[in-house]
């Protein structure tokens, strides 16, 4: 009757991602997507040597993993719940696999890349 839900797993990742997005993403979007491309700040701040050096250290690896992976979990969780809001009630397993699978891929791939850098 009252079957325990496994939602705490994805909800925790969603919550952590939501915090990361709220407290950091506006700055990253501003720098990588607006300020540097429009030449408002020098492209040197995103120079290859600088970023590659950052990704070489353990703190840099962890930082990049957190800002890429957790927002993905936050995003797919909201999108998954929105499907139901918009009346898409079928194919729950399919959407779970596709969306949460994408977030898992978006965690394991950067993890693999960062370890190798």
């Amino acid at each position: 009757m009252h079957k325990r839900s496994n939602e705490p797993i994805v909800w925790s990742l969603f919550g952590a991602g939501g915090v990361v997005v709220a407290y950091s993403m506006p700055v990253f979007i501003l720098i990588t997507g607006i300020a540097v491309p429009m030449g408002i700040v020098s492209a040197d701040v995103l120079a290859y040597d600088r970023l590659a050096g950052f990704a070489a250290g353990w703190f840099g690896k962890l930082f990049l993993l957190v800002i890429i992976s957790l927002p993905l979990w936050q995003s797919v969780h909201r999108i998954f719940l929105s499907l139901h809001d918009f009346g898409i009630t079928g194919g729950e397993v399919f959407f779970r696999v596709v969306l949460y699978g994408a977030a898992l891929w978006g965690t394991l791939l950067p993890l693999y890349l960062l370890i190798g850098m």
Binding site: Y23, I29, I31, G33, I67, S75, S82, F86, P110, M117
Partner: protein, 130 residues
């Protein structure tokens, strides 16, 4: 004999029927931009791991007008996400007591704005000047 015939109203288009619901759907929609931006960052990481030429290609791709337009909208979405996140956080965390008094919700929200402001400045400082 029972003449009961309860009528269940349909939910079609419910999200447009109340400004509160519209703001809710708007909040949930920010997830699309957050997700796309996270994928853009992930592509950036893939390029970074493949060497300097690939990385510079990613930087060039960010200069296209379409990319800049997307990031302007995404910035708005991320800020809207932050505003709504700070607004509901006091409903998720357990009540906080200070000197025996419950800390009011408004102060908790303000505290988050201050914290976010400090973190934004620190991040900007580290990215731009270090």
């Amino acid at each position: 004999m029972s003449t009961r015939k309860p009528y269940v109203r349909p939910m079609t288009g419910w999200w447009l029927k109340n400004p509160v619901y519209i703001r809710y759907i708007l909040r949930e929609s920010t997830a699309v931009f957050v997700g796309i931006y996270a994928v853009i960052l992930l592509i950036g990481l893939i390029r970074l791991s493949s060497g300097e030429a690939a990385w510079n290609g990613w930087i060039d791709a960010m200069r296209s007008p379409g990319a800049i337009l997307f990031h302007c909208v995404a910035l708005g979405a991320a800020v809207y996400h932050a505003i709504t996140w700070f607004a509901v956080a006091p409903k998720v965390m357990p009540p906080l007591y200070f000197k025996g008094e419950k800390v009011p919700v408004e102060k908790l929200v303000t505290a988050q704005y201050i914290l976010a402001g400090v973190i934004y400045l620190v991040l900007l400082g580290l990215i731009l000047w270090s």
